[in-house]
Amino acid sequence: MSATKNKGEKKSSAPQLRARYLRQPTPFCAGCGHGIFINAFLRAAEAAGLDFGRTVFVSGIGCGAWVPSPHFLADTLHVTHGRAIAFATGIKLTRPELEVVVISGDGDLVTIGGNHLIHAARRNLPIKVFCLNNWLFGMTGGQVSATTPSGAITATTPAGNPHRSFDLVRLVRGAGAPYVARWPVARPRQLRRGIETALREPGFAFVEVLSICPTQYGRANRAQWAQEGGEEVSLAWAMLSWQEANCISRRKAQKEGAADRIVVGEWREGDETWSA
């Protein structure tokens, strides 16, 4: 990777980032993808010059919602299940000079709160939304969500998920968002750059962060990761390896086709590839 591409990633050391931006260590399970997101987010926030003193983080209920609250050293609003974007709307409309960042999970933002998500996208409300998609409800014990892949085993789909899942990029683009992106935690450099880009967007920006939940999703679907190092590696690493192997960038997908892989990248209104 070129030096230019990575210039934002080495401003502060990990202890400096923790001291500057974090109130306390996180309570997440070992190997949780949400921690990788925190790592990338703090580096991206620093690179983008996001002032935590003038930023309000809003989150709902679930593991993803615990990322900012109570951990980020900023104003945090930890609200009812699914309503983070609705609360954020009231803040951003009355105090437009504050940065309003929503960080929550797929169960919260999409499964119960999907209505608020599509309306905020339609309004082009200038907030940043990061949806930590771990493919199920983690905190409540691994139940199916609107983003669980078809066939996946969860606590409430013991025979496999009979339904299809939302494609969040298509959903939010369809709702009118001018900027939508999808980045995997398996590629932390890409993720950091993607978050930084989203934070600099002038309008509504939505980033689907492909996270991992080794504790719930990983254990329930062991067969899926069996090829990724088997007993030799931790479940977290097996899931990250799977994610790395099964994500494909937009550019590559346009050339060679995505097949069954997950297309990652960014979609900005006005770009020639917007409708691709």
Partner: protein, 500 residues
Amino acid sequence: MSKKFIVELDEALCKGQTCAICQHTCPQGVFAVSDRATAQGVWPLRVAQPEACTGCRRCELFCPELAISVTPAGEQVVEPTAPQPAGPAVATPPLHPPQLLGGKRRGGGWTTAPGTLSPGVHFLSGNEACAEGALAAGCRFYGGYPITPSSEIMVRMARRLPEVGGTFAQMEDEIASLSAVIGASWAGIKSMTATSGPGFSLMMEGLGYAVMTETPCVIVNVQRAGPSTGQASRPAQGDVMQAHWGSHGGPEIIALAPWSVQEMYDLTIRAFNLAERFRVPVIVLADEVVGHLYETITVEPTVRCFNRVRWPQDSPFGTEADDGVPPMPAFGEGARLLVTGSTHDARGIRRTTDPRTQERLVRRLARKLLAHRDEIDDWEAYFTADAERLVVAYGSVARSALWAVQEARHQGRRVGLLRLKSLWPFPDDIVARYASSLTPPKVGGERGGEVVVPEMNLGQVAREVERCVTAPVTCLPQTNGELIDPRRILRYLLAGRWER
């Protein structure tokens, strides 16, 4: 020999071999699982072969705990430094005009504000007067969803708020409406929403959140006939119990009941003042009759307003006193607020399994209202000095009751009226005092000391009255979607008959 790197791993933060992402991602085998477990039973990773590091930094960027740093030898920064002005910044426009955030009055409290409507007499509907009362009280954000019979409030706010520098938002549903209102309140802006029965049901979630987070806001419920969608354009008083008990967890609530267009204006102002004083959601329990009624009202040139106490340096979620109201900083003031609807300590840190924190919080949330009823209770009494019987009424029904009581007086019956202007916390002492001062009946056969409660439901306030008095209580219920006819109440007072 190539460049050397210092690899540091904070074992206290490491979650161990169940994660081990650093070990697996490192192409050089720098990391290994430690041979001793921590006190928490974690087998942390350790830097086993630091000399092998080539500085790719995959471990550093992956580590979910931010426990690893990789630094070129000789470039180590030892101590965490204070926040620096970061590089190419996200644009930072000037802070919001301070007058909207209460200006220098960070201490909050009572103040006299200029009115937002020209002083004098105006001819308005109750819903329009409600909107004007909100603006006069300093409301600068409205989030709502259209619903009969309250929509005129939002329509007027959509036009009027921009004129006074405020913000209007039509949200996607009533859950979002109250959520946005609470968000705006934490942004430092006095905020409200208005709705009717079905929308009020959807707001129960946000109502409980506002109670738990001690967020001042005003919710107007122009009651219509239910249950469910019921009769959209017809009056009722069926939401009295819902206002108090509709949100789970048994919160204490303030609810006011206007009976006229003037009171739609006055009590909306009062609702904002009580909300700011006690850091609570306050419900204006209007009904379709007062919402759609047109009357003249008198608007004063200035308005007495209470502004929330703001000192950011104090704990925003706890007080020494068991009935105290903590100060409320706003977002963006550097208070690093931790606002949560989960059980929390004085700083806002979640304590979701600690019985003492839960009990102290829930008791204070109730006591901060119940111990200050003298500031909340509101009522009017008519002909009670020598009354043998007492009518207790509220809202539009109190208009019918007053006519009936006056007419009964003309016909020699010693009947009084107690009109409740505040319904929650229920004014137990006021009701008990008027009921106990009833004089024994002079006319033989008449029920002595009777308390009569006409209401447009099947007996919600009547049961509260029963709880407070020793006298016999008679409910006069009507749920046909029509205002109770004053002649019907009179017939009961004269002849003891309630059938149609």
